[in-house]
């Protein structure tokens, strides 16, 4: 019962915040709502006994990604005229409405579907016995999913290099690529 209450409270908050993220005129406001949203989602994870995920949700999402957003918003110091809200034409409103109706249909379909009854054997009890959620996730992640995990590091490296390449300053006059490259590494977005 408590669980349901908590869920509904969080769900309401998440819905509200999500709408506000999209609907706020000012990106800063949006970002703040996004943070709240992410915290609520983390709460939802915790409520579902996914402690590890809840933790990185807070750490990475709320702690890193949104901060990054805020940082960029501040850095760009957007003028009011660039901070537009919705500006849509009539047919586009129609398409938006159709989209919303369509996805309400999707939601209804999901309820109609109902749980499949699949059981992978990792019941809460098993996890509890094994030493808790974080331990269990770790065990799986570092054995079964070691390969994607290692690749994820490459992915991050890739993202760094990509960001460097993307956000570099205009091409310097000097033909010496290596020096410029070094400079960009230090001056990049990260």
């Amino acid at each position: 019962m408590t669980e349901l209450l908590v869920f509904h409270a969080l769900a309401g908050l998440i819905t509200l915040c999500s709408i506000m993220v999209v609907a706020s005129r000012n990106p800063v406001t949006s970002a703040v709502f996004l943070v709240v949203d992410l915290f609520c989602v983390a709460g939802l994870y915790a409520q579902m006994d996914a402690h590890f995920v809840a933790a990185i949700q807070v750490l990475v999402y709320a702690g890193a990604i949104v901060v990054l957003f805020m940082f960029v918003i501040m850095l760009l110091n957007l003028e009011p005229e660039t901070m537009q809200g919705f500006r849509v034409s009539a047919p586009e409103v129609g398409i938006l409405l159709v989209t919303i109706v369509g996805f309400i249909g999707v939601a209804v379909t999901m309820v109609l579907g109902g749980p499949s009854g699949a059981n992978g054997g990792m019941t809460p009890e098993v996890i509890e016995q094994a030493g808790g959620n974080t331990f269990a996730v770790g065990m799986v992640l570092f054995t079964r999913y070691l390969w994607p995990f290692e690749l994820a590091s490459i992915l991050i490296l890739l993202a760094i290099v990509a960001s460097v390449v993307i956000a570099k300053k205009d091409k310097p006059a000097a033909k010496d690529g290596a020096v410029a490259g070094k400079r960009s590494l230090t001056n990049g977005a990260r």
């Binding site: 398409i95 159709v98 989209t99 369509g102 379909t109």
Partner: protein, 643 residues
């Protein structure tokens, strides 16, 4: 020897047409052309005499294998019998005379090699037509003579009218040829062969099945359409008057003596089928009689000397067809024979006149030529007397037989039409004679100065033809007239036009005996009519066109105009057939082809481009629009799969 008959003219044509062309003097062209024909004539004689000495039995001369497909066979086999033997003599004999004459007539032309080449080719084709043992070989000749006719009518191609006349001849003949073709198809379908001799054996041997009998009506009708085209019967006669645009020897040879009689020849060759189709025969007789009268009336008022002769030819051909229609094939062929002689004579005579008149053909500008051209006058007089049926000359015998058979075979109406046509014939032929040779000379001074008799090359053949015109009639003297031999020609042709046993019930009236008095009576009526109408013509035109003639023309201006304009048949054809066809064709091209079909084809392309342009304009651009398209696509898929 037989092969030489056929191939000498072809050789002549090839030598003149491909080898020598402009390279030799034109006299040599003439010599080559004429020599080929004269050679062929003597070969023909050399074949004919042994043939007749041997009893005149039908012979099949094996040529070569020509066309074989499926079960259809059409070899180059030739038939030599009394009919084709006679025709070959006419073609080569009269042909030789005309070739000789043509040398004089074409004296002033430049490209005589072309003329003689075509003329020789014509003779070759005509011989193929005559000798072919099956319909297909006959058809080669049939179309081949049409081709030569086309080329010769358009011989003076620099005049657009001549080229048009040639084309008209070819096309109208083609209409008939479709009939001929369909006749061939039907024959093959129901008899399985198109060979004359085999057909004949089949009909005389086993008889015909009811289905075949039914088909025979259609076959004969279809073939008759072909005959209508070639022999210039209603309604396809229109080309023949225009064909007079060709040189006069051509008119004489092709458009009077030989080619136009091909229809009659073909019907006679298939007489055993026509006997089997009394229904068709009624049509044939009616068409023949109608043509005879119709053309004769037109001829009454024509002023162009060749036009008069042309309509006269149509009219005479009508007689021949009429004869075939009433079952008197031998009568028809006999008239063909006599007509070939006197009509060739008349044409060549007219040609002489035309040459003398410096290629003027309007009779109103002639007159009194008797004085300048005595020989021509005499032979023309003989020719006219022959054609109007002056007793004792060839036309009298042949025409009278036809009229007699028309009475007993076709009934009084048909006879009356024939008799009326004979009256008209007498009138217009005498009118022609009067206007040309008698009365005062109406030509201009310049022409008159140069009027003179033609050379021997021209009048020589004329005299021979005149003699023939006088005497050939005695080959077929009717029973009622006291004469040593009667109906020689009928007996001669009897094996060819034999009547099948099963057909005899339909033609009992032909074999029945009639009182001699009746025949005399009819003969008397026609002779009397001939004299009256000749007298009338002399009275009107004896001294040039009299005021009475003019008054009559005014008095009956409606009819006169109708006749003068040839019943407006050409105009009617033009307005109701040619023009609509042209308009339809234009519609097909401009509307169906260009607008509808191409419109659809190009429209598809343009529509694609348009859709593409529109789509790329609406769908692309900013990110949110891309996202919208993407989401709509997603929703579409959801709709298809889930909802």
């Amino acid at each position: 020897m037989f092969w030489m008959i056929i191939f000498l003219p072809l050789l002549g044509a090839l030598v003149n047409g491909l080898l020598v062309r402009n390279k030799v003097p034109k006299t040599l062209s003439h010599v080559i052309g004429a020599a080929a024909l004269i050679g062929a004539f003597f070969c023909a004689l050399a074949v004919y005499i042994p043939f007749m000495a041997g009893g005149g039995k039908q012979q099949i001369i094996i040529g070569m294998d020509w066309l074989r497909a499926g079960s259809f066979e059409a070899p180059f086999h030739f038939i030599l019998d009394r009919l084709s033997g006679m025709m070959m003599l006419i073609v080569t004999g009269i042909g030789s005379l005309i070739h000789i004459y043509a040398g004089g007539y074409m004296h002033e032309e430049k490209e005589t090699w072309r003329f003689f080449s075509y003329l020789n080719l014509f003779v070759f084709m005509m011989l193929l037509l005559v000798f072919g043992d099956n319909m297909l070989v006959m058809f080669i000749g049939w179309e081949g003579v049409g081709l030569c006719s086309y080329l010769l009518i358009g011989y003076w191609y620099e005049s657009d009218a001549n080229a048009a006349a040639g084309m008209k001849a070819f096309l109208v003949n083609r209409i008939g040829d479709i009939g001929f073709l369909i006749g061939i198809f039907l024959t093959y379908k129901y008899f399985g062969t198109v060979s004359f001799s085999e057909l004949k054996d089949m009909v005389f041997g086993n008889g015909v099945t009811p289905v075949q009998l039914e088909a025979v009506s259609w076959i004969t009708l279809a073939l008759f359409i072909g005959a209508c085209g070639k022999s210039a019967q209603l309604p396809l006669y229109v080309w023949l008057p225009d064909a007079m645009a060709g040189p006069t020897p051509v008119s004489a040879l092709i458009h009077a003596a030989t080619m136009v009689t091909a229809g009659i020849y073909m019907m006679t060759r298939l007489s055993f089928l026509y006997y089997l189709a009394p229904d068709t025969q009624v049509i044939v007789a009616a068409v023949g009689a109608a043509t005879a009268l119709f053309a004769a009336t037109i001829a009454l008022v024509q002023n162009d000397i060749k036009k008069v002769l042309a309509y006269s030819t149509v009219s005479q051909l009508g007689y021949m067809v009429l004869a075939c229609g009433v079952g008197a094939f031998s009568g028809g062929v006999f008239h063909l024979f006599t007509h070939a002689c006197f009509k060739a004579l008349l044409f060549l005579g007219a040609g002489s006149v035309i040459v003398a008149m410096h290629h003027k053909q309007d009779m109103r500008e002639m007159g009194g030529l008797k004085k300048y051209m005595p020989i021509t006058h005499v032979v023309m007089l003989i020719g006219v007397l022959a054609i109007i049926g002056f007793p004792g000359l060839s036309g009298f015998f042949s025409k009278d037989e036809i009229l007699w058979k028309a009475w007993i075979g076709g009934g009084p109406v048909i006879w009356l039409m024939g008799a009326l046509a004979a009256l008209c014939t007498a009138f217009y032929m005498v009118r022609l004679l009067m206007l040309t040779f008698y009365g005062p000379n109406r030509s201009d001074h310049h022409t008159r100065e140069h009027l003179h008799e033609t050379s021997v090359v021209m009048w020589g053949p004329l005299t021979i033809l005149a003699l023939l015109s006088v005497f050939v009639g005695y080959l077929n003297v009717p029973h009622v007239i006291p004469f040593p031999v009667h109906q020689l020609f009928d007996h001669y042709l009897a094996p060819v036009v034999e009547m099948p046993e099963i057909a005899k019930q339909n033609w009992t009236h032909l074999t029945a005996t009639y009182p001699a008095s009746l025949e005399f009576l009819l003969m008397g009526i026609s002779v009397l009519g001939m004299f009256l109408s000749s007298a009338f013509a002399i009275s009107l035109y004896g001294k040039g066109p009299s005021p009475l003639a003019k008054r009559m023309a005014e008095r009956f201006s409606g009819i006169h105009e109708l006749l003068e304009n040839k019943y407006w048949i050409d105009e009617i054809y033009d307005a109701y057939i040619v023009k609509p066809l042209a308009e339809m064709s234009h519609f097909m091209w401009k509307v169906i082809d260009v607008m509808i079909i191409d419109g659809i084809v190009n429209g598809v392309g343009q529509a694609c481009t348009l859709i593409g342009g529109l789509a790329s304009f609406r769908m692309s651009g900013s990110i949110h629009r891309h996202a919208m398209v993407l989401v709509i696509g997603l929703l579409c898929m959801l709709t298809v799969l889930i909802f």
